[in-house]
């Protein structure tokens, strides 16, 4: 009897309409994301870190439905923990990506989340994998999320093989900034994670420190 029908935006799924990007260089990877989480027209979290650790040197970038993406990342984190204890050493990035792919393929009709898996392992160095809808493919760089559509041209034109770590970080920041300017569902601050054999470095770039372009 004491019923409160939920307001419209409560029943709308919380989406991480997003821009995510991962790029590999010789010796590691750089992952980047924006920080906006929206439910319909409302921004429910303006500082969410969408770069989720799967293991010490393997991270994934979340996009799509917030609940689906968070749950997938947590499940794979648990599975990788068990796997790395079983093999007695750090897991390969390909293993983490395969675990993510297995979940997205099996539940492809029910889930609507896309994770980009990137990291460093001893055997193959820095690697970036895209795992949308059950596909598994290694790419030199990958972009995802609603904001990625606006920057495909930019990344295709600007990417060069053999970029250094600093150049990759700058490339990621520029891409995120451009996408956040044009996509309504992306915004807030930029999170950058750099992974190489020495460790993992997390950085936050606040809104007013992002690079500006011709119209600002």
């Amino acid at each position: 009897m004491l019923e409160e029908a939920a307001p419209e935006w409560l029943s709308e799924e919380v989406k991480t309409g997003t821009t995510i990007i991962g790029i590999e260089y010789d010796g590691g990877v750089v992952l980047g994301s924006d920080s906006r989480v929206s439910a319909g027209e409302t921004v429910v979290n303006r500082v969410m870190n969408k770069l989720s650790p799967l293991h010490d040197k393997i991270y994934c970038a979340l996009s799509g439905s917030a609940a689906d993406a968070q749950t997938m990342a947590e499940i794979v984190n648990y599975q990788l923990d068990v796997h790395s204890i079983e093999i007695g050493e750090d897991p390969q990035v390909r293993s983490a990506a395969t675990l993510v792919r297995n979940i997205s393929y099996k539940y492809r009709e029910e889930l609507s989340a896309h994770l980009i898996v990137a990291g460093w392992d001893r055997r193959n160095g820095g690697q970036v994998f895209a795992t949308m809808k059950g596909l598994l493919t290694r790419q030199p760089f990958a972009v995802g999320g609603s904001g990625s559509s606006y920057v495909y041209g930019f990344v295709d034109a600007e990417y060069r093989r053999g970029m250094s770590k600093q150049e990759c970080q700058q490339f990621v920041v520029n891409t995120l900034s451009l996408a956040m300017n044009r996509d309504g569902s992306s915004g807030g601050v930029a999170y950058i994670v750099t992974i190489d054999e020495h460790g993992t470095e997390e950085k936050v770039i606040l809104g007013n420190q992002l690079p500006t372009f011709f119209d600002q």
């Binding site: 009897m1 004491l2 019923e3 409160e4 029908a5 939920a6 307001p7 419209e8 409560l10 029943s11 799924e13 919380v14 989480v37 439910a39 409302t42 429910v44 979290n45 500082v47 969410m48 439905s65 917030a66 609940a67 993406a69 968070q70 749950t71 029910e110």
Partner: protein
Amino acid sequence: MATLTAVRPAFGGFSFDNCKRNAVLEVEASKVGCSVPAARKTGTTICGVVFKDGVVLGADTRATEGMIVADKNCSKIHYISPNIYCCGAGTAADTEMTTQLISSNLELHSLSTGRLPRVATANRMLKQMLFRYQGYIGAALVLGGVDCNGPHLYSIYPHGSTDKLPYVTMGSGSLAAMAVFEDRYKPDMEEDAAKQLVRDAIAAGIFNDLGSGSNIDLCVITKSKVNYIRPHDEANKKGVRVTELEALKLTGDYKYKRGTTGVLTKAVTPIDLELLEESVQTMDTS
């Protein structure tokens, strides 16, 4: 010729007869040129803030049934464990049952580990249950508490996603409350400043959102104690109380002092009653 018809007893489960009726009504109404009335939105304002020594949770106290206030003073801050409380928005039954279930499981878990439960544990249990039901359990929660790792505050959405933040708001009045937080939140506030901030945020929701109203409940959780202040503030006072002694009377005072209305003329007519008959009826008290 007589025929035998067997009456089939009603099976258990849902009856969708009203859905069929509604569909027919909608078609009929549009034929005449009328439209079916739109669904009315109801709601709540709940919020939480992390301060220097703990967390402060706040909620309004109005429960609505359509356009009518069903309960003027319902309690939206639910107990999870001695150091963790949870505010609930959305479907009242869902928030009530979900928080009770997780509270019970958390108590068993705490007995098994022999430790005070952690807020992250409650968060995991809640999000995994809500995700399992794919959003059909309409519970939007603000979970706050203090454990061995300090004060924590989470917001949990019906589909199972969570955010860990220093200040959160939920419910239909959340935008009004968030506006107050974004303006005046500072990290490491004192307890009184935090209580005032939460009170003002809920008041903003109460005054600017139709679905929220009545009083403001607060729950202050620190390492040493929990202070459940209900009500903290009566945002809307009804009338003036007669006296403190008659505080049990929950209705307002509608008596006006003699002289409030000017008297023009006064005519007193005594009515004489004649005693016609007197009879005595014995009452049977056996």
